[in-house]
């Protein structure tokens, strides 16, 4: 009797302890096997593939399967995956989207793991780590990289226009007359008969080279299109960031800036919006059809890789308040709440956020990793390739950055703002039409 009781007791104890560890799956299962990881930037794929290989060497019972999808496909397939229960275990997350995902409880909170594994959040560039703490106070990601905006320019065109690189690096702008920024852009615009944009007889309907390239209307953020200008006037997208609940597209300063921006296309210094469909701003630059492109630091590899064009990078113009501004975006890797490989995923995310991986990314000179030490290494790697990236790193050093707007309902906001901004930038509607769009946007938050 006693023996059997003892045996039963032991069995019960074992059973209890087994059920105590690991939510749905046994903990052994959740820390082994293959985990799926998604990203969208094909340029970064080689770097992360190497990270995955190194990770598997260090953790032989975990393999990482990386899938790359183009930007549009990425988000719709991801959402579909959440709905269908087939989302990836780990995926690259974006500030503009993560609010909704957290709200819909699709992300796994990693506070416990971060604390347990002593992740040093101060090693990241300032402000990045806090961005990934949701409205509920829980952490949903570890910073991966950051980016800012700069002006890519065609050195040869500058030289033949008589604009010095020094001038280029010290441009000024204001919404009334565009400052020296507009002057340079106008001067760099050349029509088919060779006349420059600021010369008499310039034919704005027959432009051969545009002074400034155009990506699109910019929808709700205008990350590369206009935010580096609008935010120098003291304007910001939302009442507070992150987690604002009121957008400011009805602000007079903002609308003036957009009027100026749309005016550039009117004057012939910037391509018409309709011509950007099916084309890419970077490729148009490479074809010699634009002299300056405002774009993000993640594009450095692409721009400097074009054959036959010498590219320079200048910081964004100084605004009417005497300061520069650049949108500061940071990506992070998040874990899907429904993952069956929780422990393995956490290990992978921590690896991605560690110096081991971020140094690899830095060495490939494609983006700036989030860790301070790694991003310095990236700057060095860029320099070793002959690319001067101070235009991007300056913003971080001088704290002239502002965050990508992080709120709820971003998909709906974008759905409202994309056509509204397109209408303004294409000249179809005046900037004052944005007030009505703004009302619709703010109605989402009531």
């Amino acid at each position: 009797m006693k023996k059997t009781l003892g045996a039963v007791a032991v069995a019960a104890a074992v059973a209890l302890s087994l059920s105590a560890c690991g939510g749905g799956a046994s903990s052994a299962e959740s820390s082994k096997g293959e985990i799926s990881y998604w990203l969208w930037d094909a340029n970064q794929l080689p770097a992360y593939q190497q990270c995955a290989d190194d990770f598997t060497k260090a953790n032989p019972d975990i393999t990482v399967k990386i899938t790359q999808r183009g930007w549009d496909d990425y988000w719709s397939t991801l959402t579909n995956g959440f709905v269908g229960g087939t989302a990836p275990d780990v995926f690259t997350n974006h500030l503009g989207r993560y609010g909704e995902l957290a709200e819909n409880k699709q992300l796994l909170a990693i506070d416990d793991a971060v604390e347990k594994d002593n992740i040093d959040l101060t090693a990241y560039n300032e402000g990045l780590a806090d961005l990934w703490v949701g409205q509920d106070g829980k952490r949903y990601g570890l910073p991966k990289d950051w980016d800012t905006i700069g002006l890519f320019y065609n050195k040869a065109m500058l030289a033949s226009a008589g604009v010095s690189e020094d001038q280029m690096k010290n441009l000024t702008w204001n919404p009334e007359n565009g400052g020296t920024y507009e002057e340079v852009v106008a001067h760099l615009t050349v029509d088919k008969s060779g006349k420059r944009g600021d010369e008499p007889g310039f034919d704005k309907n027959n432009v051969a080279v545009y002074g400034l390239g155009l990506n699109g209307g910019g929808d709700s953020s205008g990350q590369t299109e206009w935010s580096y200008l609008t935010n120098t006037t003291g304007w910001s997208h939302t009442d507070k960031n992150p987690w604002g609940t009121h957008y400011n597209y009805d602000d007079r300063k903002f609308q003036e800036s957009m009027e100026w921006f749309a005016g550039l296309a009117d004057k012939g210094y910037m391509p018409k919006l309709e011509t950007t469909v099916g084309a890419a701003m970077a490729d148009t630059f490479a074809a010699g059809k634009s002299a300056i492109n405002a774009h993000g630091s993640w594009m450095v590899g692409q721009y400097t890789g074009y054959k036959g064009i010498e590219v320079g990078i200048a910081p964004t113009p100084v605004g009417p308040q005497g300061e520069r501004a650049s949108m500061f975006n940071g990506l992070a890797d998040s874990i899907w709440a429904g993952t069956k490989k929780k422990d393995a995923s956490i290990k992978w995310v921590e690896y991605l956020a560690s110096a081991d991986c971020q140094d690899v990314v830095a060495s490939k000179a494609v983006v700036f990793p989030a860790l301070k030490a790694s991003s310095d290494k990236a700057a060095e790697a860029f320099a070793a390739k002959g690319v001067d990236v101070t235009a991007f790193t300056e913003h971080v050093k001088n704290k002239s950055t502002f965050l990508y707007p992080i709120t709820d309902n971003t998909a709906k906001v974008k759905g409202i703002m994309e056509p509204a901004m397109d209408a303004v930038v294409s000249g179809k509607a005046p900037a004052s039409s944005l007030t009505q769009a703004n009302e619709q946007v703010n109605a989402l938050f009531k």
Binding site: D72, S76, T79, N80, F82, V83, E100, N104, K105, Q106, N205, K272, L273, E274, T275, T276, V277, G278, A279, T284, A287, A411, K412, G415, E418, P419, D422, A423, S426, K428
Partner: protein, 313 residues
Amino acid sequence: MTTLAKNPRSVAPAADKPKPHGSLRRFGDLKIALLFIAPAMIGFIVFYVVPTIRGVYLSFTEYNILGDPEWVGIENYTAIAKDPLFWNSLAVTGQYVFLNIVLQTALALGLALLMHQVAKSTIIRGALLLPYLMSNVIAALLWFWMLDYQIGVVNQFIEWAGLPRVAFFGSEAWAIPTQALINTWRHMGYTALLIFAGLQAIPGHVYEVAKLDGASAFQTFRKITIPLLRPVLVLVLVVTVIGSFQVFDTVAVTSAGGPVNATRVIQYYIYQRAFTESDFGYGSAIAVILFLILALVAFIQMKFLKGNESDLD
């Protein structure tokens, strides 16, 4: 028209055997009929009837798929009435349908007459049918390439002709007409074949009589061909109109509703609200409205054009 090769009346019914299932005939087939219909019935109920009911139910809820539906009464419908994008989608779709019908019917009718006149070979008909066999996605991408603003071949020719390049997909004025053109290109062969078959069905003697009576080509066309073609034409019209209202594939793959809202057709807008913006209830409500519109359109067409009757009979 194809018919089953008839077996000659070689089997004489045996005179002394009584007819099987005599008076039971009326009901006797029910059991077996049910068996035969069962699978189709399952499909019909599960994937047509139930979704219809559920769709109507969902239109009265707010549902973001990841949670549970929340009943909100007619809120979705009142919001739709005030939604500029909804009215825009109606206008845009209407524009598309109109352009499509006019172009497609005119071209198809012309082609059918040409074929009837000049050449009836399968090869020619096959060549014209080729675009129809390709999917909407393929047709859209093919033209997306050929009409590209920077390096598309069509714009190259336009430039050679001395005209300014046209941003077919980027310009608001051109966006929907371009979609209509793509759709017409894809369907004109098929529609032409439909009408062609109808032309073939008109007995030759009718024309001979007309000719003997001294009717001119135009009069023959107007007074004989068109009226006899009416059932076919009506069918073609109804099918084309209903089909055009449901344009989605070509838009999704090329312009995604843009530029601005110039190609945000109804079905695309429904997809956008339901799947991209996770607003299933709202999307369902618009779908209900679309269904009602289509039912109305079909009803009006059949009623006014009297497609059920054929003047030949």
